[in-house]
Every structure is written in C-alpha cells, then in structure tokens.
C-alpha cells in the first residue's frame, strides 16, 4: 500500500525529512507519528518548568558562585505573550542584584531559560565545563553566575549593568525546532545597558551535541570575548574570524597569545 521513494539514500546529505514515501497523496502512518513525537518533544521543551535549583547546583559543582533572579513575567503563558516583561527584572531581583554588586568585573555570566528550558537543563553544565579553562587562562574577573527564569536575551543588559560588568555573556534556550528541541544560544554584549539592540550583540547558535560542539562553542565565545574587550565593541561590527584559528578544523584548547 505504501509507495516507497527510491531516493532514500540521499537522506545522508540532509536532516530534512525527504523520501518519506506516501499512501495515495498522504503520509504513511509511521511518518505522521514520528512527526507528532518530534512536535511533542519541542512543545515540552518550551513548557517544561525551569529547574533553576538543579541548574544552580550544577553550576556550583563546577566551582562558580551563583545568584538567582526572575524576570517581570509572572507565568509562562504571560512570558510567551509579553516579550517585554521577559526583558526586565522583577523588582525583587533588581534589588537582589543591586545588593550583590561589588567591584566592577570583566564578565557577567547569565543562564536564561528562554524558549527551551530543556536546552538549559541539558547543555549548561557541559558547556560551562568546556568554557571554564578560558576564563582561567585569560584571567577574566567574573561576577557570580546569574540563573534567570522567565528570561529573554535582553534581560542580560540589566543584569550586566547592575553587576558593573564590561561585557555580558548570556546562555539561553533557543526557540526549539522540530529536529533540535534542546539547542543552546550564546549572546555576547559589550557594555551591557538597558536599551541595547540585537544589532549590538554577537550570537553563537545551535550549541548542542548534534550541532556546534561544546569545545568549538567555548573557543568561539572566548575569541569573541577577548576581541570585544580589546576592541570595546560587539555586534555587526565585530565579525567572526575565529574560524581562521581552527587547527585542522578543530578548536584549540586555549586562545593563542595573539
């Protein structure tokens, strides 16, 4: 009954759902259910409650201090309708950060649930483990890692400003795709201030075991931070040249002296 497509071998060239076969004009049962499962997983990634305690414990196990904040969005459904609330701290969290701020630092690290708490749960610890050696090598001064719930990317601007950071690095759960429900994004903003636009940030996307590896992402981020602090800029004018430094296509373990 099912007409199979004789070009299934081409599937090795693309993650796209090609050569699915058909029954009449329609998808075979297996494919309808496979798609439904992928969509269910992506939906769950959006709606899985953020385990801030668990993430904080993992981050602390790597030797980082942590702080907990939440955005002005009180609930997930409001968060989805009101991106403006996810970009601002709650009054309580603003007070927390203001009280916690000490001397100026080089970097504020923010871990934000974004649109996929599943991504944060899965990728935060292995990514930070890969990134930590670069912090030590470069001698960057860090504020405690801020674990932020109900957060959008721009929340990092207010966090970074309150913690007197020269630059803010925000790890965020990216909008889940059907074939990538747990993808981490990294946003770097020099001189974080409320009102920064996305054109003033650099983004490293698709960080996950099947996408950009933790080692490559950590190297790329470290390269961007060093250049941002040196050139005092992020965004469209800071072009990614880190690929030029790969050794046989692989990221070096540390930055060179350059």
């Amino acid at each position: 009954m099912i007409a199979r497509d004789p070009w299934a071998a081409f599937s090795r060239h693309t993650p796209a759902r090609i050569a699915l076969g058909r029954t009449g004009a329609s998808l075979p049962t297996d494919e309808v259910l496979r798609f439904a499962l992928a969509h269910a997983q992506a939906r769950d990634a959006v709606h899985t409650p953020f385990d801030a305690d668990g993430v904080a414990a993992e981050v602390e196990s790597l030797g980082f201090a942590t702080l907990r904040v939440s955005s002005a969005a009180p609930a997930r459904d409001i968060y989805l309708r009101r991106p403006d609330l996810g970009r601002r701290l709650s009054d309580e969290s603003r007070a927390t950060l203001a009280a916690a701020a000490g001397d100026p630092v080089d970097l504020a690290l923010v871990v934000a649930d974004g649109l996929s708490s599943a991504a944060i749960h899965a990728q935060t610890k292995p990514f930070l483990a890969a990134f930590k050696p670069f912090i030590a090598q470069q001698g960057w001064r860090l504020s405690p890692v801020v674990i932020a719930s109900g957060a959008r990317v721009a929340l990092g601007d207010e966090v970074g400003a309150l913690l007197k950071a020269r630059a803010c690095v925000l790890l965020v759960g990216e909008r889940p795709g059907l074939s990538s429900p747990d993808s981490l994004g990294l946003y770097l903003t020099f001189d974080p201030q409320v009102g920064r636009t996305d054109a003033e940030r650099n983004c490293i996307s698709n960080v996950r075991p099947d996408g950009l590896s933790f080692a490559d992402a950590a190297f790329k981020l470290a390269w961007h931070i060093r250049e941002a602090l040196r050139r005092r800029i992020t965004g469209v004018d800071l072009k990614d040249e880190s690929d030029l430094l790969l050794e046989q296509g692989r990221a070096p373990k540390l930055l060179d002296a350059g």
């Binding site: 796209a16 090609i18 969509h39 795709g177």
Partner: protein, 462 residues
C-alpha cells in the same frame, strides 16, 4: 476626528480612525501587546458597528500613518486611481462588504476595482467580515502573473519548493529539490532561505538551481531569499538571478529596519527586469510579509498589525511581483497566539492581498512556542485552498530544518490538489507529465529508481 457609537445607554468613543480600526480588529495578541486592542468583547463589536458606517472616502482624507513622514502612505495615496474607485466611492465600509459579496461583484468587476482601493479600505472591510466572507470574496479575485510559467489561473494553485539546509550544503539542497520535484512541487519558485549571507555561498546556490532548471528545462524560476542589495550586487557580478527577493512591511520605519526603502526596491526590480530571464513574462519580484513586523521594529504608529500588513501589499503591488506571501505564523505567539488567531490572520491576509490585486500566497505555518499544531495547519490550508490561494510552501515533511518552524509539506500540496482538484501552473503540469513524474490528470506516478533526476543528483552529490 472622534468616532462615537451608542449601544443602549452606553457610548463608545474612538479618538480617531486608527483607534477605531484597531478596536474593530478581531482579537490577537500583537494588538494587545501594543496596547491598542479593544478592552472588552462588546467594545470590539461596537467598533465594528461604528466602522461599518464610515465612508470609504474617509480613508483618502484621514491617513492612519502621517503622509508627511511616511513614504508608504505617500505611495498609497499618490497612486490611488480615482476613476477605478468611482463605482464604490459613495459606499460605507458596511455597504462595501455587502457589495463584495453580491453577485454583481464579479471577477472582472473586482479586477477593475483593485487600483481604486487602498490597503486601509480593504483592511477595514475585512474587519467586519467573517471567515466565510473572506473566503468567498477572495475566491472571486483573479491575479495572474508570469515569469517562466503562468501563476494564478482559476482552478490552479502553485507551490514554492523550499529546500533549505542548515549549512547551505549543495548535496543537501539538491536532495530536497529532487524530493520536491518528484512530489510534483516547485511551480511557484524553487526558493532557498540561505543560512549564510556570504556572497560566494549565495552565488553557488543560484548556480546550483540555474543548472537544474536549465538541464531539465523546467518551466519555473529560482530565488535565493537574501537582501535586495545582495541580489543587486550578485546581478552586477553576473549571477543567474531570476527573482529578486525582499521582506517588506507597511511603514517606512519598519522597512528601514529591514534596511530598505522604496527606491532600493525599484533598483532591484529594474535590475531583475533588465536581465529578461523570464520567458512568458517579467514579473520578477518576490516579497514576504507578516503581521507584527512593524510592531516588532517599534514602527507601528499605533496602527493595528492587520492594517499595516495590508499596507505592505500596497508596497508590493507597486513593483509588479510574481509572488507575495505572508509568513503568517512565523513571527510567534506574541503577535498571533494560537491556531485560531493564525487561521483568521491567514484568511485576512489572503483576502486583502487578492482584493488589492497582489498574487498572494500563504506560508501556512507556526512555531513551537505557539499554541498550534499540524491540525491547525490542515484547517488553514483547506480554507485557503477553497479561497483560491495563489501558492503555498512545500517543505520536506513540513519541517524547515534551517529556520526551525513548521509549514506545509509536499504531501500537504498533494492532499489539497486531491481534495479540491487544484492544478499546477499549466507549463509545469505539462513538464511533470513529460518527465513521467505525473500521469495525465496530475496524480503522481510510482517513482522510478532510474529517473534521470535521480541520476543527476547522485552525480552531483558524489
């Protein structure tokens, strides 16, 4: 000028036409986000009742976005055709709805009327129309465009073959093109959203598509959906550009946030036409739009997102495009929250575009953080098929692995053809038959492992 409507003892006051339009709009999250939506269900209907009594002429004298500071408003009002408008010039918005649904409003009458209508007029009437009204009137509109085939003929629906790949890999893109062609899709355009904005990468994608189209003499056109200035640069370098793409919006400020203005669109259109790559016509522009883009850019002037979307079609029609599509559910739940809002918006956008004389297709789609699923897409696709949509998207398995959203698939296109008897663009339909991909009548033939397209892609991928 303030508008007032009384229901019993209650008075509803609307400060001006744009407030009245916003409050008359069927509920959606984007207008709520902007703080311009009706506060209650009753206020929403009061605004519709009030809007129904507004003369169409009011839209020629009361600009919703200031004429002095917005070139889209100037384009709309300066190009308004008073003679074409004459037959409906005495009507109110409510009369206009009745007229559109009447048997007197034939396809020819609506065609002749289009240059006399402004986006604000069609947006206004859409707000007091139910879904069935939007479907019935859109079905009567005829918009036919041509490049290497003929798109928009009655009883046809075209499909954009969208073979995106997360790293623009040539073999991956080719595999998806093959999949689409062998499923009978690709008459609207073979159109790639590139992951990269690097010129050499885009140039390579253009050549890849040009080679397939030339080698197999496919009566269709290609497009890489990159910025208009990038396409202009590529044409200067001699790249094989068929259609010039651009995302557009309904205000000057929102267009500026896309890095464009009307002048650069004109440059792109002129450059594409000058190449004369079309064989049966020279409609050489491809535009995408979507409700919420102006609000997203902070350039909405307090005007509701559906009206601004219609104004984007006003921009599009000035450049005689081959294709225009709304990407209706792509922008996210803060603009269209759920399946119900996406379905309504898709029908509105299609109606407004068609009534303005624009070849409107719809990317029937949603993201994973919206309250929607493939059942909602089936519903919208079926309604749009009934409404005579110009084209839809065809994506392998409905899963765009580059843009991370779900649209319609090659199978979905087969479904709607099977259900409603919709044909492809005639030149493309004949090609499929010639290539032994379809049988007479348009149904797919069993796939043959020795098909020359398979050999070609295998050779290219090796």
């Amino acid at each position: 000028m303030a508008y007032v409507h009384r229901i019993g003892a209650k008075s509803f006051v609307f400060a001006d036409l744009k407030e009245l339009m916003a409050k008359a709009t069927p509920p959606r999250s984007g207008d709520m986000l902007a703080g311009i939506a009706a506060a209650t269900a009753e206020e929403n209907v009061a605004a519709k009742m009030c809007l129904a009594e507004v003369p169409l002429k009011a839209f020629l004298s009361e600009a919703l976005v200031p004429y002095e500071t917005d070139e889209v408003t100037r384009l709309i009002l300066d190009s308004h055709d008073g003679a074409a408008f004459a037959p409906v010039s005495a009507m109110t918005v409510g009369d206009f709805r009745d007229f559109l649904l009447s048997h007197e409003a034939t396809s020819q009458v609506l065609c002749d009327l289009a240059p006399g209508l402004t986006p604000e007029m069609v947006a206004a009437v859409s707000k007091i129309m139910r879904n069935q009204d939007l479907i019935l009137v859109a079905k009567k509109c005829r918009v036919v465009t041509r490049f290497r085939n003929t798109i928009g003929l009655p009883g046809t629906m075209a499909v954009r073959l969208q073979p995106n790949h997360p790293t623009d890999d040539a073999a991956g893109v080719s595999a998806a093109i093959l999949d689409g062609l062998l499923y009978g899709c690709g008459d609207a355009v073979i159109g790639i959203n590139p992951a990269s904005d690097s010129l050499p990468v885009i140039d390579r994608l253009l050549k890849l598509m040009d080679e397939v189209i030339t080698r197999f003499e496919i009566p269709t056109q290609s497009c890489v959906l990159t910025h208009v200035t990038t396409s202009i640069g590529l044409m200067e370098r001699g790249a094989p550009v068929d259609l010039v793409f651009q995302s557009i919006a309904g205000t000057q400020g929102a267009n500026r946030s896309f890095g464009i203005d009307l002048k650069v669109l004109a440059e792109g259109a002129d450059a594409a036409r000058a190449l004369k790559r079309g064989t049966v016509g020279q409609n050489a522009m491809y535009f995408e739009t979507g409700q919420g883009s102006a609000l997203s850019a902070g350039e909405h002037h307090g005007v509701d997102q559906q009206t601004l979307e219609a104004r984007a079609y006003g921009v599009a029609r000035a450049f005689n495009p081959l294709l225009v599509n709304t990407v209706v559910g792509f922008i996210g739940p803060e603009y269209l929250y759920d399946g119900k809002q996406i379905i309504r918006a898709g029908l509105e956008d299609h109606f407004c575009g068609k009534l303005l004389g624009v070849p409107l297709g719809v990317d029937v789609c949603y993201t994973n953080h919206a309250e929607a699923d493939q059942d909602d897409m089936d519903t919208l696709l079926t309604l749009l098929g009934a409404a005579g949509v110009t084209y839809i998207m065809g994506i392998p398995g409905a899963d765009d692995v580059m843009l991370n959203y779900q649209s319609t698939s090659f199978h979905d296109a087969l479904y709607i053809r099977e259900l409603l008897g919709l044909k492809r663009a005639p030149e493309f339909e004949a090609w499929l038959e010639r290539m032994d991909i379809t049988a007479p009548g348009g149904r797919l033939l069993p796939a043959d492992a020795r098909h020359p397209l398979l050999g070609y892609v295998a050779g290219r991928a090796a």
